[in-house]
């Protein structure tokens, strides 16, 4: 029933996805806003029109903010697609929606197969559990059985280079170890689609190279990768195609080299500010 208009060779189809955040809902003067929002919605009016939208990010007034607006794209199976753009452009929000961490406000997205994700430093680890236990936790979150995880276990441990700390609670891990284990799990478990957000920012240089090689292998084996990064070198090394996000919209879509060039040449490109 769900396969309407979702060709076999696609791994991801995104159509008109938007995400609107209401700012200041919890902070100040908010109960009134919330009430107003509900009343407008009940009357079938679009609250965005009446409450004022924040197009300009510098405004601090409570209102509505489109993190994503009308995003549409397709990803073929086995493709490695880089998502680039400045902080707050919507890349991470897009991945969070595909990973089902949060829901879109509008639109629809279809994904074929199991989805593994590693979002912004770390993954679904439980801090009190050991590395070993977290491997099983993550596997069962993906719906894998214990036997399936057993089969992958050695591979994960070997790649992660954390052998001696396997029975230490992950809360005592360094951020490097944390990321290494997280990446190994994400890369080794049986997933068809991998969502990776800034996964290489913490690991050391040799491990980064190892990860990039691994990602190429994964792509070659027919799995699909969406990769968010601010390192244009890494993006160019592993991605065949890139999407450039700009203020919640897709500004460019094409071969990685071209899109990266467009991004780097775009006016106002500066060291990113922290708006995400």
């Amino acid at each position: 029933m769900a396969n309407d208009d979702f060709p076999e060779d696609l791994a991801i189809r995104v159509r008109g996805v938007g995400k609107t955040y209401r700012l200041g809902v919890i902070d100040r003067g908010t109960f009134r806003d919330e009430l107003l929002y509900r009343i407008l919605r009940l009357r079938g009016r679009d609250p965005r029109a009446s409450m004022g939208r924040i197009g300009d990010r510098e405004t601090a007034a409570p209102g509505l903010f489109d993190a994503l607006d009308g995003i549409s794209f397709d990803v073929r199976r086995g493709e490695t697609v880089g998502l680039v753009g400045r902080n707050g452009a919507g890349k991470s929000t897009m991945l969070k929606i595909l990973a089902r961490i949060t829901t879109p406000t509008r639109g629809v997205a279809l994904i074929r197969g199991r989805v593994g994700s590693m979002l912004e430093v770390g993954t679904g680890f439980h801090p009190e559990l050991t590395g070993r236990e977290n491997v099983y936790l993550n596997g069962s979150i993906l719906g894998m059985s214990k036997k399936e995880i057993d089969a992958k276990f050695d591979e994960i441990v070997e790649f992660s280079e954390i052998g001696g700390f396997l029975d230490t609670p992950v809360k005592r891990y360094s951020s490097g170890m944390y990321v290494k284990l997280a990446f190994s799990i994400a890369a080794s478990l049986d997933t068809d689609v991998l969502l990776l957000d800034e996964v290489l920012a913490v690991g050391d240089a040799p491990f980064q190279t190892k990860c990039l090689d691994r990602m190429k292998e994964i792509a070659a084996s027919g799995r699909t990768i969406l990769f968010v990064s601010h390192s244009m070198d890494n993006v160019r090394r592993i991605c065949s195609r890139c999407l450039l996000f700009d203020r919640g919209r897709i500004a460019a879509d094409g071969p990685a080299d071209d899109v990266v060039r467009v991004y780097l040449d775009s006016p106002g490109e500066r060291p990113p500010q922290n708006t995400a």
Partner: protein
Amino acid sequence: MSERPITRIRPGRGWFDIPWRDFFAHGELLMLLARRDVSIVYKQTILGPAWFLIQPVLTALVFSVIFGRVAGIGTNGMPRFLFYIGGLLVWNYFRGVMEGAAQSFESAKALFSKVYFPRMVVPVSYAVSHLVYLGLNTLVFFLFFAWHVSFSGLRLHPTPWLLAAPLLVAWIAATALGFGMLVASLTTKYRDLRFSLPFIMQAWMYSSAIIYPLDGVKDPFFRKVLEFNPVGVAAEAARFMLMGRGTVTWRALACSGAVIAVALVLGLGAFNRAQRDFVDTI
């Protein structure tokens, strides 16, 4: 990897758009979380799991002295210690599941903000993990029961209704999950609830027939009110099953059953609604 299920992601549609199939596909995760919950509780303690035996005994002892000796509250012909420990079976299980479920979002924040799985697995895992403590508490009860029978000539005995114990457990779990999930969803927005939960639980215990038998309530109005409390009704039912003493009327079952139904519907709906954009509100 033969079949590749298609995931359809779209804006949430109302409160009861609950991913049931997904939930039931995550049985393995549920058991893993339940096991984790049990193993973590006694990490970094000296006595470890022995606490689950000591704690109900100590509580029942305190109750026996304060409510029995000092306040002189009757126990409907049951030995005080057995009366309290029987009620505590129900109360401890209820409280454990309720408090666990109520803190679902806080305790699983690290997971919820990084990976997807049906969020309902977390509260439900507490209903499973606390079965372990319920089992240990029941063991304690029967130890003392046997002691009473052999040394003080106790003439009470379990009734055949004891076979319905699983239903009673389900009853308590449903109550705890309904209210717990409701509290959990409200807490994501209104943090005040976190501070008021201890008071709510305290008031709840006093309005459940844990430290007094329902028969001891003489005021007809209050007695009727208490019939709407599923936990109190369960406590009476538990003692009736275990010792043949307790008042369970069809009317009380109907009244508190209706309360459970309402709580479950509200809890499920609100939880489902809250989990959808929980990550955006933390």
